[in-house]
């Protein structure tokens, strides 16, 4: 490089990319609620991943010598009507909840994102048809729609994920479409068209990444919603089946018969569900604020 070359706005110190540690400290300082949510999320994921390591008993083995025991040192959250350890079942239930919650939320918001952006990008009759289909799907209460899908597809984890995902898609598609309509008119999209890029590239590389804020909001609300929906389906007996541990299932068997005589059988799964939904919602709000590059340095 020649010595006499001059540049506009030369800045010699390299631009520092902030490490994850700095981001985490920032998060705690500026978003204490979000950090608390994050802690709950990490706890849930940890429980889901290391369920075998941190449980105290096999969650699926009955022990008829220890039925409906109150919380004690042997069973810190007590036991259910089959003598199964409630703590171990909650830990393994976290796995079911996280698996269904994350898969359904990510699938639902991502498919919704693609449908919403495509609909807005092409406009015209494509947009019209997609949006009318979305209208129809939104008109169904999502739990009714999920029930119908479970009845068609049968029970088990896979069908439950599909049943929870499909009602999420139109919500996300609607929100994303309105953002994408605005993005479509911005000159960098015109620049991409002038470069001769294909529709797929423009949708995936130029429009979608700029809708990350609403996408993340939808994704994180969906996490809480999906966990709640899984619990509801299991509670109604249409979701995950016994003896697989799931919070909704535990709530069902506990609430129906033992709410007065053995309240621990219903209180602890209830706390697990509310804590998970609460934590994911708090975390989602905070993550949105921190990850948006335009808000970052203010």
């Amino acid at each position: 490089m020649a010595v006499n070359e001059t540049y506009i706005g030369i800045q010699d110190e390299p631009l520092q990319d902030r490490g994850w540690g700095a981001v985490a400290i920032d998060l705690i300082r500026r978003q204490p609620l979000g950090a608390a949510g994050g802690l709950i999320v990490i706890l849930m994921i940890f429980a889901a991943v290391f369920a075998e390591q941190i449980d105290m008993y096999d969650p699926e083995v009955n022990d008829f010598g220890a039925m409906l025991q109150a919380p004690s040192l042997d069973h810190i959250f007590g036991t259910d009507e089959f003598g199964r350890d409630i703590y171990s079942r909650i830990v393994h239930g976290a796995r079911t909840a996280m698996l269904v919650g994350f898969t359904a939320a990510i699938l639902g918001s991502t498919i919704g994102l693609l449908i919403g952006v495509t609909s807005a990008y092409f406009g015209g009759w494509v947009d019209n048809i997609v949006q009318r289909v979305v209208d129809v799907l939104i008109a169904f209460p999502s739990i009714i729609l999920a029930l119908a899908i479970v009845i068609i597809l049968g029970r088990g984890v896979g069908p439950v994920i599909v049943a929870i995902t499909i009602p999420l898609i139109p919500n996300c598609a609607r929100v994303v479409r309105s953002s994408a309509l605005a993005i479509r008119e911005i000159p960098y999209v015109d620049a991409a068209r002038a470069m001769g890029f294909g529709h797929v590239r423009i949708v995936l590389r130029h429009i979608s990444p700029n809708i990350m804020a609403p996408y993340l909001i939808m994704l994180t609300t969906f996490l809480g919603q999906a966990i709640l929906a899984e619990a509801s389906l299991s509670y109604l007996g249409l979701g995950v089946q016994e003896p697989t541990p799931a919070w909704g299932l535990m709530l069902k068997s506990g609430a129906e018969e033992y709410a007065e005589s053995a309240p621990w059988a219903v209180i602890f799964p209830g706390i697990a569900i509310s804590l998970a939904v609460f934590g994911f919602n708090l975390f989602g709000d905070a993550m949105r604020d921190v990850l948006d590059p335009k808000l970052r340095d203010r």
């Binding site: 706005g9 631009l15 000159p187 620049a191 991409a192 470069m195 001769g196 990350m212 335009k294």
Partner: protein, 342 residues
């Protein structure tokens, strides 16, 4: 370059086969009404029969007030809009009627620099990938290392530190972003660049830098520019020829100096008289020609000459006859039958 070579270039400029020929370009936007059954209730005649040519290495200025359709002309040439009628012949090929899929190769020859440097760069992409994306996608440079070098070179050509390749647009100033926009346009080796108000959003000192950059690049790579602007002093400095638009039509087209020194059309005269003179005494002494009224709606333009309701020289026939753009003196096109010939 010596004076003799300069002369040769000037001559060949006039003689050469035009790079771009626009013939009778029309862009009418339908105004629709109705919730389910859309029906057209009117047409916005944004561009209504525009013709001009641009030679290789030439800069054509396109001026006019807001809403006269100058940006739409640019968008039609870029095929960001599908023209209603007319031809856009680029290098001998009519691109107005082409399907989008057939356009791909030609698109790289025609590039664009936008007005607003803050919205013309994708905020989620680093400068390096903004500039290299087209080279990668179209396989202009297949090797990643070579591509990075080319990005550095392009940034350097546009007067930016090659280090900027690793930054995001929001870390840069308006002038720097506009340079990135220019580097992106250059990345596909275009022959023709539409500058859509390319300097209007920048402050005056940055404007001067960008204008000089555009001029240097033209000398170096022999681009043609369509320079859309409303700032007449910038146009006078940069352009070889200038076309004046009013309500979707070209009213006057001439060599730059000829147009500024010897404007014929009443609208051009009024437009030029609105340019302030940087000397308070002359400015106070000179007479201004101020137009009455507002620009009429392009949905329902006036009959005959679209300028007649505001024209100080209008006569009865102006309300009836639509004036054609005709040669007034050699090289000076005019769409006004009233102006007397010398």
């Amino acid at each position: 370059m010596s004076a003799a070579e300069d002369m040769v270039e000037e001559d060949s400029l006039a003689e050469a086969e035009p790079l771009l020929r626009v013939e009778g370009l029309k862009m009418h936007f339908p105004v629709t009404d109705g919730l389910f059954l859309k029906h057209t209730v009117g047409l916005v005649k944004a561009v209504d029969g525009v013709s001009f040519t641009i030679a290789p290495g030439e800069t054509l200025g396109l001026v006019g007030e807001s809403g006269c359709g100058k940006t739409t002309v640019g968008r039609c040439i870029l095929r960001l809009e599908q023209p209603t009628a007319g031809k856009v012949i680029f290098s001998g090929v009519d691109i107005a009627g082409m399907k989008t899929s057939e356009m791909s190769d030609l698109r790289q020859d025609v590039q664009v620099i936008f007005q607003d440097p803050f919205s013309s760069l994708n905020p989620r992409m680093k400068i390096g990938s903004i500039i290299s994306e087209a080279m990668r996608v179209h396989g202009i440079i297949k090797d990643a290392t070579e591509r990075r070098e080319r990005v550095s070179e392009l940034l350097r050509i546009c007067g930016l530190n090659p280090r900027f390749a690793d930054r995001y647009p929001h870390e840069m100033s308006g002038g720097q972003r506009q340079r990135v926009g220019i580097a992106r346009a250059l990345s596909v080796n275009p022959k023709f660049i539409v500058c859509d108000e390319a300097v209007s959003a920048l402050d005056v000192s940055i404007q001067a830098q960008i204008i000089n950059l555009l001029e240097d690049l033209q000398k170096q790579f022999n681009f043609s520019y369509l320079f859309i602007a409303h700032d007449l002093s910038v146009v006078r400095h940069l352009c070889h020829r200038v076309a004046v638009m009013y309500l979707g039509k070209i009213v006057e087209l001439a060599d730059c100096d000829e147009l500024f020194d010897n404007p014929k059309h009443p609208y051009t005269r009024a437009l030029l008289s609105a340019v302030p003179v940087p000397d308070p005494e002359i400015e106070a002494a000179r007479s201004h020609q101020i137009l009455e009224g507002e620009v009429p709606s392009p949905i329902n333009p006036p009959s005959g000459c679209v300028f007649h309701p505001r024209c100080p020289q209008a006569i009865e026939t102006c309300k009836r006859d639509i004036p054609e753009l005709q040669e007034f003196t050699p090289g000076h096109m005019l769409a006004c039958p009233v102006v007397p010939r010398e």
